[in-house]
Every structure is written in C-alpha cells, then in structure tokens.
C-alpha cells in the first residue's frame, strides 16, 4: 500500500473508524480540533455518528451511555476538557465500560496555553477522577504509531472492559508524517452480553452501574477491579528499546520527548558514549519489568519529560533506589531541544552530578 501524509489528529480519527468505532461524542478544544472536524465528515460516510456535546462533562457521560449500550465509542479532548471528563471516566471505570479517550495534552495548569506538553501524566496514570481505578494508557510517538495503536486501544478496552486513554500532545496532533494505512478490514467488535440493550423475557437483567451501597459489596467490587488491574499490569506492558544492550546511561522518555531523545542517543553514540533510550508505550501499566531487568547493568537513568517531573516517580519506583535517577524537563508548552538534553547527558555520563 502506498504511504499517505497524515496529521496526527486525523490519523486518530481514521484509526478509530478502521477499528470499528462508530460513535464519537466531543467538545471542541485546541490542539485536537482536527479530530472532530475529520470525524464530522467521516462518521456519516460509514453510517456512524458524530455528535458535538454541550461540554466535556456531557461528552464523557454520553460515552458512558453509548458504551453501556454496547457500542465502540470514543471521545477526545485536551487538558481542561479532560479535567471535566474525570467524573464520567470514574463512573465508566466503576461500571467497567470499554471506551477510548484521547488527550492531546497542552500547557497547564488552568487555561495554560495550547502548546504541546506532557503535564497531564499524573492525571492520566494515577487516577484523575475519584475512587480506586486505573485507565490503560497508551503513549504513541509518531503518526504511524497512532494508527497502529487505535486498533489496540479499542481491543484492549473491550478485552478488559476498561477505559483506554491515548495520551499524546499538541505536536503529535498537529504534525503530518507518512503513514501506511494498510487494508481496510471489516471489524466485528466482540459480543457484549453484559450490555443493557433491552431485557429478553426470561433472560438475564443487565445493569450498568457503579453504585455499591453496601461497603462489603463495594469492597468485593474493588477487589475484583484490582485483580483485573493486576492482570493488565502483568500482561500489557509495552515499550520500545533503543540501544539498551550496552547502555551505561539510559534515557527514559515517552511520546514526543522520546523522539527528541532518540536523536540525542544517536549523537551520543556518534561520540562514543554508551547511551540508550527506553520509551514506554504503555504508561499505565508502566513497563517496570524492563527497568528492573536492566537497572543493575546501567550506571544511571535520565528521565526527560515535557513537564516538571511526573513520570520520573514511576521510574524511581521501578529502579527502587538501585541507581541514581536524574531529570530534565521543559514545561508550559516548551519543547526540549536535542542539544540541551545532549549537554545534560554528557555531564551525567562523565560522572558529573551525583544525585
């Protein structure tokens, strides 16, 4: 198949349609608006629905309804809107409904700005809304990977009956890159006998619900969720390794910052430094396995993020104090520049700053 040039936001839309998603509910916000624009045109072509909600609060709850009715459904927003969706996401997780939520992160907190950032990491992987729940969280680093991950996002959501978040940033949403779309396959979403679609006489009653008024029962519900999350943590960790084999310094970065770090690794290798990159593709579940495996072989870790240090906590948890973990970040919508990261690497590599 020939390659086409595609914007990240449009790739999400096309990837979703190809994954069998036929319902989109959302509210405009920069820098993800090309996605609703795309789906406003594309959904009617495939007999699907694009509906603009009156708010993100409503969008997330429209998703709750549609997912409960058995649909492959998606919504999308950026920081301020994702904050408003947290109510719905908590209810969706509580009721164990599958859906996909896209966050094209922008500078925060508050209204912040519309430039790319990774400052919603905590919100995405540590809960976000109320209650003890987890959201499977995928962090693509290219437009091609967006296309590839959309199918997985819907499949994981259905497999575990859990919300899946695609965590990206303004750069990935806005940029165009060549992508291979592949053959358009007919996707038959799995049977969902639990969906409340109208009770057959004599059949089971279905209830889409997150209320467990009796604490004993609510505890059982939480234990069941925890068991599911443990399976996901074990089975679904994904990451990319780049020159890790002999690396003495390992950079850990996801999404757009990982792209920049790849160039840093190349340059460091050109100059004879054994530097590698670990790029988490799932940020929940976090790829702790690989970090535990390599931590004894390396001298130190450098975490690079477009925020003031959020994922570094997960790296530290996996490193368990075995090695120093350093941080380099830019915030507020600023992008890290390869040259600056390289200087940091050089300093650390030569035994510079001890922790």
């Amino acid at each position: 198949m020939a390659k086409v040039l595609m914007k990240g936001n449009e790739a999400i839309g096309e990837g979703a349609v190809r994954a069998g998603c036929r319902y989109f509910f959302g509210y405009p916000i920069t820098p993800q608006s090309e996605l609703p624009h795309y789906l406003a045109k594309r959904m009617p072509e495939v007999g699907g629905l694009y509906l603009q909600s009156e708010s993100e609060t409503a969008a997330a709850n429209m998703v709750f309804g549609a997912a409960g009715a058995g649909a492959r459904v998606m919504t999308s927003s950026s920081g301020p809107g994702i904050s408003l969706m947290q109510e719905g996401i908590s209810y969706i997780a509580g009721a164990e409904l599958p859906c996909v939520i896209v966050n094209m992160i922008r500078g925060g907190p508050g209204l912040g700005n519309i430039a790319p950032a990774q400052s919603d990491y905590f919100q995405a992987v540590k809960g976000g809304g109320h209650g003890d729940y987890r959201v499977i969280c995928l962090a693509p680093a290219s437009v091609q990977e967006i296309i590839d991950l959309m199918q997985d996002a819907f499949d994981l959501a259905d497999k575990y009956r859990n919300p899946v978040m695609l965590l990206a940033d303004g750069v990935l949403g806005q940029m165009m890159e060549p992508v291979e779309l592949g053959e358009e396959k007919f996707v038959q979403p799995p049977e969902k006998p639990w969906a409340a679609t109208g009770r057959k006489k004599g059949g089971p009653k279905r209830l889409i619900n997150s209320l467990y008024i009796v604490p004993e029962e609510c505890e059982q519900h939480n234990l069941k969720l925890a068991k599911k999350y443990a399976v996901i943590s074990r089975e679904e960790q994904r990451w990319e390794e780049y020159h890790l084999d002999d690396a003495r310094l390992v950079i850990v970065a996801f999404g757009t910052s990982a792209r920049v770090c790849k160039a840093v690794v190349d340059r460091a290798r050109d100059e004879g430094m054994a530097v590698g990159l670990l790029r988490p593709i799932t940020v929940w579940p976090y790829p702790t396995g690989v970090i535990k495996r390599i931590r004894e072989k390396v001298d130190r870790f450098l975490v690079v993020e477009m925020n003031m240090g959020q994922m570094i906590e997960d790296v530290r948890l996996a490193v368990e104090g075995a090695r120093p973990v350093h941080f380099y970040g830019r915030a507020g919508g600023m992008m890290p520049v390869a040259r600056d990261i390289f200087n940091e690497v050089k300093k650390l590599y030569n035994g510079g700053a001890e922790q």
Partner: protein, 249 residues
C-alpha cells in the same frame, strides 16, 4: 489629523488582536465607555471568558478575572457576594455561556444574582476554529457541521434571552446588534441600562449582542455584517425581553 474619538479611560491603549471586521472590539469599547460614564472605573470588576475575547482582561484597564470555560457567572457570583457594592460583569461568547456554561448562566439568573452578562452571540466557536455553537443557525456550515446544522442531529439554535425570561430572578434581558451605527448606539444604551439595574439591586441582567465573525464565517467584514442582518436578526429578534416595571422600556 482630526481626532475622531477619544479612547475611554477604562480601555487600555493597546491594539486589539481581533481579526479585521470583528465586532468584539466594538463591544469592548461600549462597555468601557459606559463604565467611564458611570464613573465606575474603581468599582468595576470584569470576568473574562474562554474564547476569542479572553484577552479582554488585558484591554480593560480596571481589575479583571479570568474564568474557566463557561464558569464566569459562578466566578462573578463569588465576587459579588464578597463585594456587593461593585459593578460585576462577565463577558462571554455563545459557546462559553450557552453550551458549556449553561448551568452557571441559568442558575445565576435563577438566583437573581446581581451581575451583568455581556453575551456575544456570533453563531460559532470562533477561537477554536469555527465549530458549531449552540446558536449556530439551521443549515449553517461550520467545521463540525460540514453539511450544515441539521435539527435532527443537533437540535434547534438556543435563544438565550427567551430562555432566561421566565426565571423570576432575571431583571433585565435585551438583545442588541452592532452591525451598523444606529444599532451600536442602541447596544450601548442597553449595556448602560443593565449596569444601572444591577447597581439598583434588581437582579440578574444580560445583554445579548449579535456579533460578526468574518474569519470563521468565511466572509469579508462587510459581507459578514450583511449576513448578520439578513440571517441572525430574523431568528434572533432584537429588543428587550425583560425590564423591571419601575424602570420601564
């Protein structure tokens, strides 16, 4: 050169960032002039929305707040309850006030909150790139209604003045337009009246201003004003929808 007009003291001497032909700037000026005329510079507090006009917080020279998208009436409520003798107003677009912030708007009116909402109806979400707003007209093409707004999918456009009129807490509701000088004069009168009624303590006040967005409508500034007159006014009739009896028309 002859000086055609002087800048109100309440309006900062910096250029607007708005597109050519955008009427946000006109409404800013009217608000500033009225505050000057009421000599309220030191007692005026404005709440900026999220939308093209967010930077009204820079243009107004007096103290300002910036609220989350749609929440300005709630922020204004907090301010007014702490500082009841101040002139408190919000400046909000149609997406801000009539979609995401409908709850805050309706309940500020229901409580009879003594604030003024300057409501800019330009029939689109302008700042985010011309998506459908609650006020987008039937058949109007936007970036999220590429085939035109369809009542079967999106329902009918929301008429804000008409929606708030039955609430006992609303004291003054008027719809004006700024597409020509005559209407600009009338718009200013309505803003003055709303502020006066707020300061009398009669209840919630709102002035809806039909505004143009040439950029997202894909029209020249002049065509946009004509489009407003020919398409918006028939659906959104101008006039006062509520006035305290003692104040009268």
């Amino acid at each position: 050169m002859k000086k055609v007009f002087t800048r109100p003291e309440s309006l900062k001497d910096i250029p607007f960032h708005y597109c050519p032909g955008c009427t946000h700037g006109i409404v800013h000026r009217l608000v500033a002039e009225v505050i000057d005329e009421m000599d309220m510079y030191e007692r005026a507090l404005g709440v900026a929305p999220v939308g093209c006009s967010v930077f009204i917080y820079n243009y107004m020279d007096f103290d300002m707040y910036q609220a989350a998208h749609g929440r300005a009436p709630a922020v204004a409520t907090g301010i007014k309850r702490v500082l009841p003798d101040r002139l408190v107003f919000t400046y909000q677009g149609d997406g801000d006030a009539a979609a995401i912030g409908t709850g805050e708007l309706v309940h500020a009116a229901a409580r009879g909150e003594k604030i003024t909402v300057i409501f800019i109806n330009n029939a689109v979400y302008a700042m985010t790139g011309g998506q459908m707003a609650p006020t987008t007209l039937l058949g109007q093409k936007t970036t999220t209604t590429p085939a035109g707004r369809d009542a079967g999918i999106n329902g009918m456009p929301v008429k804000v003045c008409e929606m708030l009129a039955p609430l006992d807490g609303s004291a003054y509701l008027a719809r004006v337009s700024v597409h020509n000088p005559k209407n600009i004069v009338a718009a200013k009168k309505a803003i003055r009246k709303a502020f006066d009624i707020q300061m009398r303590g009669d209840g919630f006040t709102l002035v809806e201003v039909l505004s143009s967005c040439p950029t997202n409508w894909g029209l020249s500034p002049l065509e946009a004003l004509k489009w407003l007159e020919q398409n918006m006014i028939p659906y959104y009739p101008l006039g006062e929808y509520k006035t305290p009896a003692e104040v009268g028309k």
